[in-house]
Amino acid sequence: MKISIQINASPYQHQAADTAWHFIQAAIARGHEVYRVFFYHDGIYNAARDARPPGDERDIVSRWSSLHSDKGVDLVVCVSSAQRRGLLETSVAKKVGGYENALADGFRIAGLGLLMEAVIDSDRHIIFGE
């Protein structure tokens, strides 16, 4: 089964990103294809490269990056949500003089069209938020 995931909440402040991550692990283990994880609203903060949680806490951002590098899951951050909240794509950051390395490994920034494409092609769409 193709499953697309949407994450609407920032990490740490809410459990949504954790629930989603555990769900995705279980879905992949059961043989499903996680088509795409789309980060929307405050969910874009899941992609913040410079998050530095204390050493004894889970590293949510790296965990997502590993999901991409190990399992090939497509991680897409909504461009309008991200720009509004100060997370810029490198090319945009260059143009406006912003921070060029904001996005953690494995994430890409794109428009809402990629959310719709995922939803249309998927058998299930699950939204995690606060």
Binding site: Q15, F23, R30, H125, I126
Partner: protein
């Protein structure tokens, strides 16, 4: 339909009011406190199956003994199975 509820407040009441017999409700995150029999003002509809995500219960130190007897339990794999069997999925926030 599968309803995913993650809050222990009026949202669950809104969900129960709108769900029907062929639906399933899954309590996750702080919604699992609604599974506790004591002190809960939520009136469940016995015709609608209610599941609780047990890892979220264990994380909060809540056991099956404290919960309503009609609650069923799933782990994350069971969560995925509920998603397999039910569509569409509505998340209540």
């Amino acid at each position: 339909m599968l309803y995913i509820v993650n809050k222990n407040n009026d949202v669950l009441v809104d969900c129960i009011e709108r769900a029907s017999n062929d639906d399933v409700i899954l309590l996750v995150e702080n919604a699992i406190y609604s599974a506790i029999e004591a002190g809960s003002s939520v009136v469940f509809d016995k015709n609608i199956p209610v599941y609780a995500l047990e890892p979220d219960m264990k994380a909060r130190g809540i056991g099956r003994k404290q919960s309503h007897d009609f609650i069923q339990y799933v782990d994350y794999e069971g969560f995925v199975e509920l998603v397999e069997k039910n569509n569409p999925v509505r998340s209540y926030f």
